[in-house]
Structures are given as C-alpha cells and as structure tokens.
C-alpha cells in the first residue's frame, strides 16, 4: 500500500474536511453493517453467562460439528491449493483454444447459488439422480455423508485459489521461469524454486478465503447433509439446528466459535499482508 506522501512543512493548511467526512461515513457504515452484527453474536452468546456459554460449546453434538467442519476444511483446502495452482499455471503460462472458457468454468461456482449447487449434486448423486442407481448398487454412500459434504464444499470453494493466484502470475509474466529454464531447471524445480516463492502470499490468501468459505458454507451443505445430529451436521447446520431447538443462546455460542475462526483467519490474513508488503 502506498503511504500517502505528506507535502513539506510550508504547504498551506488544506482543509481535511472532505477526507474527514468520507472517513467518518466509511467508519460509521462499517461499524453498522459489519462490526455490530459481529459484536451482537458474542453479546448473545454470553448473554447468559460464561458457564452457559461453555456448556453449549462443550455439548458433544456441537463438538462433533466443530470436528466435522474442521475435517471438511482439512480435506478441501489442500485439494483446492493443488488444483488452484495447477489451473493458474495452465491458464497463465500457456495459450490454447478454450482458455477463456476454462477460466469461466472454474469461476462458474461464484455465480451459482450454493443451494443450487446442492441441487446439482442431488440430481447427480441422489438415489433418483443420474448416478444414483449405480452408486446404490455399489453400496456407495455419497450424499448425506462426508463425501457429499466434501464434494459440495469443493464446488463452492473451487475458484478461490485460482482467482487469487492467477492475476499475480499473469502480471509477473514468465520471464523468471524462462530464465530458470535456460539454466536447466525441470518443471517442478521451476515451480518450487521460482514460481512458488513469488506467489506464496497470494496463495496463502486464496487458501485462507477458501477455508473460510469451506468452514462457513451453509446452503449447499444443508441440501446434501441430511442433518443427522452428531453425524453429518457441520457447524453452520448445527447452529441452525440449535436455533430450531429453541436453544438460541446455544446457537449464538456455536456461531461465536465460527466467528472466532473467521476473525482468526482474517487476523492471519492481515498479518500475512503486512509481511508481504514489508517484503
């Protein structure tokens, strides 16, 4: 980020009025739109005291939901990283017919409602879907089990890594990689020694966003999860379930853990950015 250069001491005192006004409006809006809803979650979660809060969090079903959500993120994020990098390399470094189209397909999940993503998977893997009978014969359970949740999560998070890394790779051009090539490096060596160090912050940011989304996905997962208590309920689903159990404090307590994860993720991201700007 460019730090604004201040003019020298003799500069006439410019009125900072406009700037002040804009900053104030921005801060107020952000507080109203983002900060207060965020704060409200914690306020509600703690409204009946820390003991109730802890009890809600430590409920086995909630704990299981936390574990399941973590597991889903642990599976999807690495896959996202590998595939995202592969797609970015392909699109940034080669020209081939259909390149633009491929990029569009990769970004397709951005424009598909998560709930509809779930429907798509239902139509594909459901017992009455395209592949359903086949899967039923082979006794493979995809929907209403971990594989289904992982698959839809992969769907909704598919574009993140590519989207972060690709513009950077395109902007940087391939000259360094060509230099490495003339020096005799193999493909993997080039990637590991030259490309990766250049894009590592963008990659991390992409991974952070993908994991945030993986952890927080509700619509798509709710279609394919079957919401079996303590089994296929991810944390967002568990929150809805608690809400419908009329355990509102419990719902907000679970929500606050998710919010904490979100805040931690953003904190990591901000740190990363700080470092990459410094580097």
């Amino acid at each position: 980020m460019k730090t604004a250069i201040l003019p020298g001491a003799l500069a006439p005192r410019e009125s900072r009025g406009a700037a002040r006004l804009l900053i104030a409006v921005a801060v107020v809006l952000t507080v109203l739109i983002i900060v207060v809803p965020l704060a409200y979650i914690f306020w509600r979660a703690l409204s009946e005291g820390v003991a109730v809060f802890a009890q809600n969090i430590l409920d086995p079903n909630t704990l299981h939901a936390i574990w399941l959500t973590t597991l889903v993120a642990l599976i999807t994020v690495p896959v996202n990283i590998v595939i995202g990098l592969s797609a970015a390399w392909l699109i940034a470094r080669f020209t081939f017919p259909g390149r633009k189209l491929l990029l569009m397909v990769i970004e397709l999940p951005f424009s598909i409602s998560p709930i509809i993503a779930g429907v798509c998977y239902l139509l594909l893997y459901g017992r009455q879907g395209l592949l359903g009978p086949m899967l039923a014969d082979a006794d493979i359970q995809i929907l209403f089990a971990l594989p289904g949740i992982v698959l839809v999560t992969l769907f909704v998070t598919a574009p993140f890594v590519t989207r972060e890394v690709l513009p950077l790779m395109q902007a940087q051009g391939s000259e360094q990689e060509q230099a490495a090539l003339t020096l005799g490096a193999s493909g993997f060596q080039i990637f590991r020694l030259v490309t990766l160090p250049n894009i590592r912050w963008a990659l991390l940011y992409g991974a952070v966003l993908a994991s945030a989304r993986a952890v927080g996905e509700f619509g798509a997962v709710s279609v394919v999860s079957g919401s079996i208590r303590g089994q296929t309920n991810t944390l967002p689903l568990q929150i809805e379930l608690l809400f419908n159990d009329l355990n509102i404090v419990g719902a907000f307590a679970a929500a606050s853990t998710l919010t904490l994860i979100a805040l931690a993720t953003m904190l990591i991201k901000t740190l990363i950015e700080g470092r990459s700007k410094a580097a």
Binding site: M1, K2, T3, L22, I23, V25, A26, L29, T30, I33, I34, V36, P37, L38, Y40, R44, V82, S86, A87, W89, L90, F94, L102, V105, I106, E107, L108, F110, S111, I112, S113, I115, I116, V119, C120, L123, L124, Q128, L130, F155, Q178, L181, S186, G187, I190, F191, A212, G216, F218, G219, P236, I239, E240, F252, A255, L258, I261, A262, T265, M266
Partner: protein, 285 residues
C-alpha cells in the same frame, strides 16, 4: 534468401516452452469436469427433461415470477448499495491514512469469512422489532425484517467484499502522476475523480458489482432468516427452488435453478464483454 527447399516441420506451436502443460491440463480438466461441470450438467439435463413448454409454465407461474422479481430487485438494491459503499471503502482505505485503517481493512473480509447462516441470524435479531436497529427503525416506519429491505440487507452483507476487493488494487496501482497532471491542469478534486480516476477503475468496478450481483442472486443462508419467506412477497427464488424440492417437485426446482444460473451467467458475460470493450478503448497507457 536462399530458396533452399528444405521442408521443415512446423514446430512453433507444437512445442510449449515451459513444462507442465499436459499435467496441469489433465489435472485441471478432470477436476473441473468432476467437481463443477458434471453436477451442472446434471442440472441442465434435468432442465432439458422438462421440455420447453413445461419449463415456461413453471417459470412464468405467478409465484415463480414474483420470486424471481423479488430476487433480482433485492439483488439490484444490494448491489447498488454495495457499489457505493464498496467504492467509498476502497477509496478511504487506499487514499487516507488514519488510525485504525488496517482494522477497517480487515473488516472488509469478515462477510466472506462469516457463515451466511450466522450473518442471517444476527441481522435478523438486530433488525427485528425489538432488536438494536429495529427499535430505532420501526418507530420511524421502516420495517426491515420480513420485507424486501431485509432481503436486500442480507444480500448486501454477504457480498460486501466483492466491490471493495476488486476496486482497491486498481486504485492502489493508479499512477499518481495522472492525477497530478490533472491537478496541474486546474481540475478540482471532484473533477479529477469523475474524469480521471473513475474511468480508470470503471472496468474493475463493473466486474466487482456484477459478481456481487451474481452472488446476491444466489444468496440463501443469510436471506432465509430475515426474509419471512412470504410467497408472492418475500420469497426468494433459491428458497422457492428449495421448497419445490421439498415438495418432491424436481422439475420445478430444476427450472428455477436453471433460470437463476442463466441470469447470473448472462450478467457475467455481459460484464466481461463490457469490460473488454472498455479496455480496448482506453486500455493500457
């Protein structure tokens, strides 16, 4: 030139300089095929199964139309708000230094990171008649919860980062000399923004707004909590698809889903085209 008729194989395009084409192509295509294309194909096939006439009937049924109208309208409202708010944020975050700027910057990503259901829950509680905001707004005659306003609020919350994050880097990268040039030519700050800065960020702005719009069209988790889901009034299209599903009406669900997807794709295509045109026009200096 020596007319030496050595026929050389045409090699140029048959060789790729950097390695990894086959590997990444294979990996990417199979992944995209399995994770993205195959399920979407299933939806399209289902849609094709319905037949054009039935499809038309479903989509033009009053309730569907109402839901689509509401969704598009609310998404438009949300996008309008986000466009303005996003531009303001991008501007403030790049142009001014003030205490807490980094924090404000970090806040921009919260809506992405926060699960939509949690957001919906929290917004509903805040805006309901006895919530923090509702207490102020209801007496003033503004009802947010269970109205189109609520739908728009939820949609705009979940798509806040799109405009900010697409405009911000462009704004950061803008050559300050161009603005200085305008300043030295006597332009006022407002004129500079209108005639020099905005045209430069316009393509990115457009893309950000379109993605925000597409995302709003599809937003579900946050909206269902705050919308009230009144058929013909506050029922969004993706909820209607969900309801159709729960009514065992697969055709209805697929038709609505397909329609939503097509609207989003048309919009994205349109914005890509516009952006391309703008870049050809002004483009790289």
């Amino acid at each position: 030139m020596t007319g030496a008729a050595i026929t050389m194989p045409r090699r140029a395009r048959s060789r790729r300089v950097l390695p990894g084409f086959g590997l990444t192509m294979g990996l990417t295509l199979s992944y995209v095929g399995i994770i993205v294309l195959l399920p979407v194909m299933a939806l399209v096939l289902k849609g094709a199964e319905i037949g054009p006439q039935r499809y038309w009937e479903i989509v033009t049924a009053p309730r569907t139309l109402a839901a689509l109208r509401l969704t598009v309208l609310a998404a438009a409202m949300a996008t309008l708000f986000n466009a303005i708010y996003g531009l303001l944020m991008a501007w403030v975050l790049t142009r001014y230094s003030f205490p807490g700027r980094r924090l404000l910057d970090a806040m921009m990503d919260i809506p992405f990171a926060l699960p939509t259901a949690v957001a919906g829950l929290s917004l509903t509680a805040l805006f309901s008649a006895n919530g923090w905001y509702g207490q102020v707004l209801e007496p003033a005659g503004i009802t947010v919860v269970y109205t189109i306003l609520g739908v728009a609020v939820a949609m705009s919350f979940t798509s806040v980062p799109f405009v900010v994050r697409t405009v911000q880097p462009i704004l950061e990268d803008l050559d300050p000399a161009v603005e200085e040039a305008a300043r030295s030519l006597g332009a006022s700050p407002l004129t500079i923004f209108r005639r020099v800065i905005f045209p430069a960020i316009q393509p990115a702005f457009l893309v950000g707004a379109t993605i925000a719009f597409a995302r709003s069209l599809g937003e579900f988790g946050a909206v269902i909590f705050i919308a009230g889901n009144l058929p013909m009034k506050t029922e969004i299209a993706s909820l209607l698809a969900m309801i159709r599903l729960e009514e065992y009406d697969y055709n209805g669900a697929a038709a609505i889903a397909l329609t939503l997807m097509v609207i989003a794709l048309i919009l994205l295509g349109l914005s890509n085209w516009l952006q391309g045109r703008m870049q050809r026009k002004g483009g790289r200096a």
